[in-house]
């Protein structure tokens, strides 16, 4: 992640350890449902992974293109709707086709906002995303005939998860869904890591550092920023597909602007700029929110206090302790 | 001649940017109504020294006294109130404020019989007088420099510290600013500490010179006379 000290020819020595830990966590998570039968925790971890994926894509967006978005959950929602609609109306068994359609459609819908993003950026864009989020929320809410309005999308079938003829199980089966989510999240994680260390990632980093200069070394800044945006929205699309397959339901409230701020909070809790931190952040946030809201009806007070406390005293997030901070954006 | 005292006295300051130790034990002083320059290569810590004096990057060790007051840990606005005015290298003209407003931001009543006022600044810098309503940030580099100096003067300071006032100015303007500095500041009894790359200008303005080596170490203190007589001094102390 920390490119500032990358010297060609000198291998980063801590890499094998990191990979080892990541693989260990992966295997541990894979074995978890076989050790604990409690479906609540399986369900909760499943949700953490889905939101972790979403948070990771937001982390890429924030850390690499400098776009602060309060509406990232809207793309999760859009993808979920498309996947759901595809399965309900077009082909109840074509899981992969549905996911593909959802992800592609999400990227297309992401284009116009991305277009605005590359022209505004910064805080103005951040505030705008709140309103854009509300816009998508309102549209989904209003488009009764297609989306089911605030009732949400009903009647999702449970297709089988199959790959090259091999069948994992139905999406209605929590265990199969859990394993499916785990594998997809892991693949996305490694691919994203790969991407940010690629020449393409380097370009995004340069743009984040100094847009003006980037264009004066011959980078088409707007194009790359748009590509970065689309990439992040595509990842959000994947998380959306997982979301609806797992919940069997999607409604407008998942897309509200204030839920979007929650995703941002996950990123910061985990530590900005470290991809796996996003997963940790999502896990912590979901757990804390669930825990506090079960404890007291005045959970908002305590959640607020926890957030304030964490921002004040854990500036680099849980995994970023000691790590140097990626700056959100140059002034 | 009135008795001269050390209006600015720095002892063994240690300044850091984060973990990098930039000034490692710098001591220097400026006497009342004296003009002193700091000369040195890029990155030795001249700007940092000025910022430290101004309270913008407070030192972690050592002490600074201005007019006998300990300002080591004082914030910039307290230091400014002690009569220190700062002309940063970047000039820092407030964009969106007109020339007049830029000056008014700093204006402070003076004690002497002929204090600096808006009129007086405009008298001395006719270029500014023509442009009082113009947005300060659209002035050309040289005009901005004059505005920055004017802004320092209008607060009727006892000490002005200037960072590279000649940077980026055309030869004509360098001459003009040298004249202004020479004529107005020194003659009106303002103490000056000036950082310059343009040694010719520094020699014209200041009477005593600190030659700074890496990490803010003073490698030589010399008077203008010494340097004039032996230009090799600078060469030998400031090149690698």
């Amino acid at each position: 992640m920390n490119n500032t000290t990358t010297i060609p020819g000198i291998k980063k020595r801590f890499v094998p350890l990191k990979i080892f830990i990541v693989v260990l966590v992966f295997v541990g998570l894979g074995l978890f449902p076989f050790m604990s039968g409690n479906r609540f925790y399986i369900s909760m971890i499943n949700e953490m992974m889905i939101y972790g994926l979403l948070a990771m894509s937001l982390d890429v967006l924030l850390g690499y293109t400098g776009a602060l978005s309060f509406m990232h959950n809207a793309y999760l929602g859009i993808s979920a709707y498309v996947v759901g609609l595809f399965l309900i109306h077009i082909s109840p068994a074509s899981l992969w086709m549905a996911c593909f359609a959802g992800i592609i459609f999400t990227s297309i819908v992401a284009l116009p906002v991305g277009w605005v993003q590359v022209r505004t950026g910064g805080l103005a864009f951040a505030l705008l995303t709140l309103a854009f989020g509300m816009m998508f929320h309102t549209i989904v809410w209003k488009w009764y005939d297609v989306t089911g309005g605030d009732d949400g999308l009903m009647g999702m079938p449970n297709p089988d998860i199959t790959l090259f003829g091999w069948k994992l199980g139905s999406t209605g089966d929590p265990l199969a869904m859990y394993l499916f989510t785990l594998v997809i999240a892991a693949i996305c994680f490694f691919l994203t890591r790969r991407i940010i260390n690629s020449p393409f990632g380097a370009v995004l980093e340069a743009i984040r550092e100094n847009e003006d200069r980037a264009s004066f070394i011959g980078i088409n800044v707007r194009r790359y920023k748009l590509l970065g945006w689309m990439l992040a929205c595509l990842l959000a699309g994947i998380s959306g597909a997982l979301f609806i397959l797992y919940k069997g339901y999607i409604g407008p409230s998942t897309m509200s602007a204030f839920a979007g701020a929650g995703v941002l909070m996950m990123v910061l809790l985990g530590g900005l700029g470290s991809l796996w931190g996003a997963f940790v952040g999502a896990a912590i946030f979901i757990y804390i929110q669930d825990y506090i809201s079960t404890m007291t009806e005045h959970w908002e007070i305590f959640l607020g206090l926890v957030v304030i406390f964490l921002v004040l005293f854990l500036p680099t997030g849980f995994v970023g302790l000691g790590d140097h901070l990626k700056r959100f954006r140059k002034g | 001649m009135e008795k001269r005292n050390k209006i600015l006295n720095i002892e063994g300051i240690q300044t850091y940017y984060g973990v990098s130790h930039v000034i490692q034990g710098l001591s220097m002083y400026v006497e009342n109504q004296e003009a002193v320059s700091i000369l040195g290569r890029n990155g030795v810590g001249k700007t940092t020294t000025l910022r430290t004096i101004m309270g913008l990057t407070p030192p972690r060790g050592g002490s600074i006294h201005i007019n006998g007051v300990d300002t080591t840990k004082a914030p910039p606005h307290k230091i400014s109130k002690l009569g220190v005015a700062y002309v940063p290298a970047e000039r820092h003209i407030f964009p969106g404020l007109s020339v007049e407003e830029n000056l008014m931001m700093a204006a402070r009543p003076g004690k002497g019989k002929d204090p600096w006022t808006l009129e007086k600044v405009c008298d001395h810098f006719p270029v500014l007088a023509d442009r009082t309503k113009q947005d300060g940030s659209t002035l050309s580099g040289g005009e901005q420099q004059m505005l920055a100096i004017g802004r320092a003067l209008i607060s009727n300071p006892e000490i002005i510290i200037m960072d590279e006032p000649s940077q980026g100015l055309s030869p004509l303007l360098v001459q003009m600013i040298t004249d202004v500095v020479l004529k107005f500041c020194i003659s009106s009894g303002i103490t000056m500490l000036i950082v310059e790359q343009n040694y010719r200008m520094a020699l014209k303005v200041a009477s005593r010179h600190y030659l700074m080596g890496t990490k803010g170490k003073i490698v030589k203190i010399a008077s203008t006379k010494e340097l004039m007589e032996d230009p090799e001094i600078i060469q030998s102390h400031l090149s690698v």
Binding site: G149, G152, G248, Y249, D290, E297 | -
Partner: protein, 370 residues
Amino acid sequence: AKPVKIGVLVPLTGIVAQGGLEMKYGIEMAAEEKGTVLGRPIELIVEDTRVKPPVAVTKAEKLVYKDDCKALIGVFSSGVGLALSKNIDKLNVPFVSTHVMTTKFYGLHPLVFRSGQLANDQTAVGNVKGILARPDLKDRTYYVIVHDYSWGHDAGERFIALAKENGIKVYNDTYDKAPIKTKDWSSYISKIKASGADGVYMAFITNVIPAFAKQTSDFGLQGKVKLVSAAAPGPLELEAGGEACHGIFGASDWAWDVDNANSNDWEMRFWKKFNTIPSDAAVHSYVGAMNLFNAIEKAGSTDAKAIADALRGISFDGPYGNVRISAKDNCMRNSAVLTETMAAPENPFGAKVYMKVLKTFTADELGPPE
């Protein structure tokens, strides 16, 4: 003995938090009065749904999988209710909704029940009958405005259809849909003024009704334009609105003005316990909870299917009088009252505005036929 755990899902934050709180009170009161089922204490575990379906589903999973709740009760909005129903196979516990008004709940799922507030079709019948019975209301033209979510749409549609059948004039067949967040109703009021309608049929979330009434009164329309409501206004909000809220007409399942021994007794118990004006949300949640507890007792076990079977056809003699959950479609056949808000007589709750009962409907009058 090990307690029987019941999961209570109510909104405690968000726009309907007040209603959610009252529901919680009703259910708590029922649990306390019932005390035990199957010789085991009843333990309620309350979770906040935030009126968000995904949150509600997650909370339901937590209640069932982690806390081992044997049944779910509560739920305010149709969206939440439907989302839970969608997941009920997975959860495999009976779910008694006490506040959902959508007609989609009829015969939705063997484990899903509705016992509580009037459903939209029932309210519409009550309101239309009520309007027809009043000479001063019968000939008015009604402007229909609803909160923009599925309950509102459903309520608006049902009223318009029924009104037309019965010759009541409706100004706008395509009723106005106001966002739930609407605080400033001035644009809508201007629209009503411009339309020349002299009646408004409104399907608003209960605690917003007084706000709307107050603003129409600010614009000098009180009395000139009659407000007919598809749901009972929240009693606390009515108090806050004061005189500006006089004259709201509408059918609902209960009001504390209902005068029978069961009801009067219940009111006082509620008042003593919570020191807050008893509302219909509290009553129907109370009744729903009682139905559930009685069904568990009747089933003799906490098995999901057994409880569901017991719930079908169960009846309860409470503040409403005797009401029954239909064995045919799992939904309650309610009795109802037609009310109008006005200055309250002397009363133990210190209320200044109350819903005066004008007429009572039996369950059979409102339908739907079994």
